[in-house]
Amino acid sequence: MPRVLNIHLGATFAFLYTPIAVLIVLSFNKAGLPTAWSGFSIEWYGKLASNPKILNAAWNSVIVATISTLIATVLGTLLALGVERAKPSPARDALLFAPMIVPDIVLAIALLSFFTLIKFTLGLHSIILAHVVFNIAFVCAVVRARLKGFDWSLAEVSRDLGAGHLVTFRKITLPLILPSVVAAALLAFTLSIDEFIIAYFTAGAGQASTTLPMQIYSMIRFGVTPEINAMASIVMLVSFALVLLAQRLNHGRLPGA
């Protein structure tokens, strides 16, 4: 029985990683055709570096992900600290879980309708506002998981010895939860930099607020080029690196959604 299970696990890993491996191999493919092998080349990576549209989109994504991560990390961490001290509330838990499970397209059109109704101009800033929504919920979940095993007596001792709330937070609580907070931030950054539909609907028109996933989508949708394989490989390796770092910081644990 264990043998069958292990074969199944091996096959599952093959299923999960073959598509990724194929893309990376093909990104070094010389031919213009992105699907058949014809010799090694790094030409497409060079093409990528000199494509102003892609560079601009990548830069926009970095801006959106950085700012939305900073806001969400602060708000989500405070939220987690508050929730762990407050009385349990199923309604509040549902509210905090909802952004992770509501279909992207629903949140996307809800925000587009809302922004349009209040006559809010769309652009990179509206994408940032939208990305903070799911990132807050996400950071909160990661930090809460860390606080579950947190020894509050350390903070109590500090308070008993006469330290104020802020001093206790800065000297005791924050240093202890910091690795999880940084891990949450790295994961939030990864989520934001990869997010497509919500950004697509809240970006407004024009190249000025096109993010990298929007650029990737239009490249896939309107003509396959070998450049996509190269870009896909870079984007995936960046995500892998960020997630690996987050996992190391979070004591080997990695939340799923």
Binding site: M1, L81, R85, Q247
Partner: protein, 283 residues
């Protein structure tokens, strides 16, 4: 300052953000359901109507709803069939490997969804990797129609969401007290019977959590049917997209989204019931 006040102070900014930019916009969706589109797009606020709701249950749109539910259901079942044994195998692996194996299983989930989906276009298309390999080996002489059909959509959904199923079931298995299964074996039950009568029922919460996640994200999916279905097969997410960006009938798009939200609430409720029952059984 009382502890209660401090905890509210800490929660306030985050909860306000979620209220203003998630709850209010979603409530707006439910308001839009009762209005009609304006002559030039936008919304005609002059008269309320129930027409969007009756239209959503028209045969044309309702069959898209049913198709989406069917595709999501098939994807959910397959993801569970792949995910459960995989999670079980990770749990049975030597302890020092478990974290790494689990990490490896979830890692793809953290890469760009578009790219993971695009990878299947590269594999499945008529001159793609799979057809090339099969032709080269001589298994087929004509390329198989693997892409732009329901098969491709289901494959894409299973591929994208199986990692989450593995995670959900692994954490349920890990919470399970191994002495139950040991007792069952000691009393003479076979491994299979122990699994069916002890392990599986006690990990229902994990199965339901994984299933709800795959089902909800599949039925509301836009990218997978769009890229792997080739636009021929519409799912509810594509229909909503079209209403907003092509047909410019926002109230009708909002109506379809409202139905999706209702469906999501039902799924979450089922999950809450299942995890409540699981807690009761352990107590």
């Amino acid at each position: 300052m009382s502890p209660r006040f401090i905890s509210w102070l800490l929660m306030a900014p985050g909860l306000l953000w979620l209220t203003a930019l998630m709850i209010v916009p979603c409530l707006l969706i439910f308001v839009l359901i009762f209005f009609e589109r304006g002559t030039y797009g936008g919304i005609d606020w002059s008269a309320a109507t129930l027409e969007n709701l009756t239209r959503a249950f028209d045969q044309l749109y309702f069959s898209i709803f049913l198709d989406s539910a069917r595709i999501a259901l098939i994807a959910t079942v397959i993801a569970l069939l792949i995910g459960y044994p995989a999670a079980y195998a990770i749990m049975k692996a030597p302890e020092r490997w478990q974290t790494s194996l689990l990490f490896l299983a979830i890692l793809p989930f953290w890469t760009n969804y578009l790219i993971r989906t695009y990878a299947w276009i590269v594999l499945l298309n008529p001159v793609g990797v799979i057809n090339n390999v099969l032709t080269y080996v001589g298994v087929i002489s004509q390329p198989l129609p693997l892409l732009y059909n329901e098969f491709a959509i289901i494959l894409g959904l299973v591929y994208n969401y199986t990692p989450f199923v593995i995670l959900a079931i692994y954490s349920a298995l890990q919470r399970l007290d191994p002495s139950y299964a040991e007792a069952s074996r000691d009393l003479g039950a076979t491994a299979v019977s122990t699994f069916i009568r002890i392990t599986l029922p006690l990990t229902t919460a994990g199965v339901v959590a994984g299933a709800v996640f795959v089902f909800v994200l599949s039925i509301g999916n836009f990218v997978t049917p769009d890229l792997l279905g080739g636009g021929k097969l519409q799912m509810i997410g594509n229909l909503i997209y079209d209403q907003f960006l092509t047909a410019r009938d926002w109230p009708f798009g909002a109506t379809l989204s409202g139905l999706l939200i209702a469906l999501m609430m039902i799924a979450l409720f089922l999950q809450a019931v299942a995890s409540g029952q699981a807690r009761g059984e352990h107590a």
